[in-house]
């Protein structure tokens, strides 16, 4: 505990706050700090040269050519008066000395630190193939510009490696631009890692209806270049060879935590472990009161999903967690609020709006409760142990708030709304998630680290729950 938080009434409003990560979570945390009354020195450190911009349009409107990439800066909700260090990545952290080390050798001292370094696209596994001209990733503005230029120039065939949301959205844009596109997915269906194979197989049918050459249970064996180092061909595990000049590698994220190596914090490629109040936890399982974590890089415990640490790449979580962090940082332990935001995300692909609430990937059952799969307008409810834990809508987003409330109430499954648009068959099916789940959302390994144990311990959750009710009563 520092000098700034020595009584129930003391707020942390002066001193130095450093935010590492200058994207959505970092910017919104900075703004929320000012809104909460923080008047001290604020520094934002980002590895990209650009000021904070919005990522969701990059794989949609920007790629389709409907929105210039320069038109994606994030709206500013509050005057920040912050010091910006854009284009200089953080490379180290000393908790003992209270400073962040930058790539240019500078030390940036802090009284409070917020880690919001997010994630990056996982690169192709073979460095020589990844270096071929035409092998691209999609996470940043610059990535989007490069891919857009390729698509705009026309391409005989685009290859997308990975049938997750980025892969599906890019395939959708390719088809809208009338480009031939092949999607190679290692699992049995696209989107299956996030939505399971039942809903994933509906997504597969949608893709095929739109002319995508979708190949499931298939992998890329070799990306082949020519003498000039340009991508020319791809060899697939199904024995096929295709001529391609553009390959998008969309095989998931890696959390940006390398800079924390040696810091003592519990950080690995899955993220930084924190408690329900978003305070970082170190490798010994001790809470670091001065360090908070927000956005894609955070792994945090959620009261609805006990024994798990969630880490998501969701726009709405970054925004909500930014508010929790700022509130807790400024108002201190007496006013701590738990981060109980229900994970949710959206996607737009092939003319379909997909929305999700809760964590489908933890489910063991799924059932269609409303609408029609054939019309691509439906609600899928996901359950675990007979309780509703998530819902996914295809072109039925208006229905989601109802399910959200039921998820938060842990409603029993199967649910029968007697809804006028219920399908004839509402029996639950196995949700169809791979036995070993994808890194996102992360399931705690069977043998837990001390930090993971500390974050999910019953005491921490009870503490969180009591704080939540206290603050909501007071508010």
């Amino acid at each position: 505990m520092t000098e700034h938080l020595d009584s129930r009434t003391d707020r942390f409003t002066r001193g130095r706050v450093v935010i590492v990560g200058a994207s959505l979570a970092g910017l919104r945390t900075a703004e929320a700090l000012r809104q909460e009354g923080f008047t001290g020195a604020l520094t934002l450190i980002g590895d990209e040269p650009h000021l904070p911009y919005d990522r969701p349009p990059l794989s949609k409107q920007v790629l389709a050519g409907r929105l210039p990439v320069e038109h994606t800066p994030l709206a500013r909700l509050h005057d920040l008066e912050a010091s910006w260090r854009c284009g200089v990545p953080a490379v180290g952290l000393s908790l003992a000395d209270g400073h962040v080390l930058l790539a240019d050798g500078q030390h940036v001292p802090f009284d409070r630190l917020i880690i919001a370094t997010g994630a990056r696209a996982r690169p192709w596994l073979h460095p020589a193939e990844a270096a071929l001209d035409g092998v691209l990733l999609l996470r940043t503005r610059d990535d989007a510009s490069r891919l857009r230029a390729r698509l705009a120039a026309g391409s005989p065939r685009v290859l997308i490696i990975g049938g997750g949301f980025i892969g599906a959205e890019v395939a959708s844009v390719c088809r809208a631009l009338d480009l031939r596109v092949t999607v190679v997915e290692r699992g049995p269906a696209p989107l299956a890692g996030a939505l399971g194979t039942v809903v994933g197989s509906i997504a597969a049918a949608v893709q095929r209806d739109h002319g995508v050459d979708l190949r499931c249970d298939t992998t890329v064996t070799t990306l082949e270049g020519d003498a000039d180092g340009r991508l020319r061909r791809v060899h697939l595990s199904d024995g096929d060879t295709l001529d391609v000049d553009v390959a998008l590698v969309a095989i998931g994220p890696l959390r940006n935590t390398e800079w924390l190596a040696g810091s003592g914090l519990a950080a690995d490629p899955r993220g930084v472990v924190c408690d329900a109040f978003c305070r970082a936890i170190d490798e010994r399982g001790e809470i670091q009161e001065r360090v908070f974590v927000a956005g894609d890089v955070a792994r945090w415990p959620h009261p609805l999903y006990p024994d798990e640490l969630l880490s998501v790449e969701h726009w709405s979580n970054a925004v909500a967690q930014a508010r929790t962090v700022a509130q807790n940082l400024v108002h201190g332990p007496a006013a701590y609020r738990a981060h109980t935001h229900l994970p949710s995300f959206w996607s737009h692909q092939f003319g379909i709006n997909i929305k999700s609430a809760g964590v489908p990937a933890l489910a063991d059952q799924v059932l269609i409760t409303q609408g029609s799969v054939d019309d691509r307008r439906f609600v899928a409810a996901y359950g675990l142990g007979g309780r509703l834990i998530a819902a996914v809508t295809f072109n039925q987003a208006r229905m989601l708030p109802v399910y959200q409330a039921l998820i938060e109430a842990s409603a029993p499954l199967p649910i029968d709304f007697k809804a006028s648009d219920r399908p004839s068959d509402t029996r639950p099916l196995p949700a169809g998630f791979p036995a070993a789940p994808q890194p996102s959302p992360t399931m705690a390994a069977p043998t837990r680290s001390r930090a993971e144990h500390a974050a999910t311990s019953a005491m921490a959750m009870e503490h969180a729950a009591s704080r939540t009710s206290l603050t909501s009563d007071a508010g």
């Binding site: 708030p401 109802v402 007697k418 006028s420 648009d421």
Partner: protein
């Protein structure tokens, strides 16, 4: 005679000018079971969540006590229009209709009306040149939406005296007053009006098929996609819905807006200086004095809300006007704040049945209010409170006499 419920009391004529204190009392029990078995929901969170809930039906055929026009023993019930349908038929009918009303298929239909609306307002106000008194309801906020909806739909304006009576009678079916609902003469009037307006509309739609013009009804009834999927009875029901809903609500919005501003002269002066605030002020009028005070629904399954389990098959009343004044949702909820931010009122509903005509209502009210504010010098209410229309569901003044010094250009 059974004890009058709090909700029935709030709907009584003597409380028409100010039902809000009774609504505040109703909000103390967010979901209250009335002695007649109806459930009244009056708080923001609960009303808005039920508007989204798939267990809630808008279809009168699911109701044990359907609206009067469905009770005629001597005639088959009319096919419901989409306002009284559930998914998936609702969405289907609504989409086919929207195709000829708004984006993406008809993006210019409403915005293209703005100039015409401006001319009509100019004409209606201009008739008062040299006078010092205007009845806002009779001289402007009733005739304007009628002219606009006739223009838009392709309904002859000279038929207004005929459909005015039908519309009046049919909307009185929304009145929950039991002495009215149990009155055989009242039911007979509704059956008669319902039959007559259907005959009228059938003839009109036939004329649009014979001689199409550029109106919305012409486009709709001649659209091959719609003709393949919509029955003639449904075409009639939808056209009647558009005609009635297209003017019975907007009249209240404009009248309530003028009334509220004249009760707040400082805010009126401010809007005259800052006309760019008018759109936000209209949203606040919608929240503060909603043209539609409540909507009825039926539960398809047991629904737990705010600790109360509403049983399957129950009648529920979603009291939008009370939810809009819920202090848990809106700070200073009983104050009229024309530049209020975060003003997500429920006056156009929410969820799948969100008001079809909202964009048109907004354009009409914005233009009308802007011009009234700009052109009436020194306006004062002649009577406050004004007399109200009889209908508690569609609440607004029947006359709103305003004295002014002069009409500016």
């Amino acid at each position: 005679m059974p004890q009058e419920t709090l909700f029935q009391e709030s709907a009584r004529v003597s409380n028409r000018a100010n039902p809000y204190p009774l609504y505040a009392e109703l909000r103390r029990t967010p979901v209250s079971r009335e002695s007649d078995g109806t459930y009244v929901v009056s708080t923001y969170r609960e009303v808005s969540s039920l508007l989204y809930d798939p267990r809630i039906s808008a279809d009168p055929r699911n109701s044990a006590d359907p609206p009067p026009m469905y009770k005629n023993p001597n005639a088959p019930p009319p096919e419901p229009s989409f306002i009284q349908l559930d998914e998936p038929r609702h969405e289907h009918m609504r989409r086919l209709t929207m195709k000829h009303f708004g984006p993406p298929r008809s993006p210019g239909r409403i915005s293209g009306m703005a100039a015409r609306i401006g001319q009509l307002v100019d004409k209606l106000l201009g008739a008062h040149q040299g006078r010092q008194e205007i009845d806002i309801v009779q001289d402007l906020s009733y005739p304007l939406p009628v002219m606009v909806i006739c223009d838009l739909l392709g309904v002859p304006l000279e038929d207004e005296p005929r459909f005015r009576d039908w519309s009046d009678i049919l909307t009185s079916g929304l009145d929950p007053d039991p002495s009215l609902q149990n009155d055989p003469a009242f039911l007979q009037r509704i059956f008669k009006a319902s039959a007559e307006i259907r005959v009228y509309m059938a003839e009109l739609l036939k004329a649009h098929r014979r001689t199409p013009n550029d109106s919305m009804l012409s486009a709709f009834v001649n659209d091959p996609e719609a003709r393949a999927q919509v029955t003639d009875g449904e075409f009639m029901s939808i056209a009647i819905l558009l005609l009635i809903a297209g003017h019975e609500t907007t009249v209240n919005l404009i009248s309530n807006g003028v009334l509220t501003l004249l009760r707040h002269p400082d805010l009126l002066a401010r809007l005259r200086r800052e006309p760019e605030l008018v759109p936000a002020a209209i949203e606040e009028v919608l929240r503060y004095e909603p043209p539609v005070q409540f909507r009825n629904r039926t539960t398809l399954a047991d629904v737990s809300v705010a600790g109360v389990t509403i049983p399957k098959g129950a009648e529920i009343i979603l009291l939008i006007a009370a939810a809009n004044r819920d202090p848990l949702r809106f700070p200073d909820a009983d104050r009229f704040i024309p530049d209020r931010t975060d003003n997500q009122h429920l006056s156009f509903g929410s969820g799948v049945h969100y008001c079809f005509g909202a964009p048109l209502a907004r354009v009409e009210a914005q233009i009308a209010l802007r011009e009234i504010i700009r052109r009436l010098d020194g306006p004062v209410l002649a009577v406050d409170p004004p007399p109200y229309r009889f209908n508690p569901a569609l609440r607004g003044p029947s006359h709103l006499v305003v004295n002014f010094e002069r009409l500016t250009d």
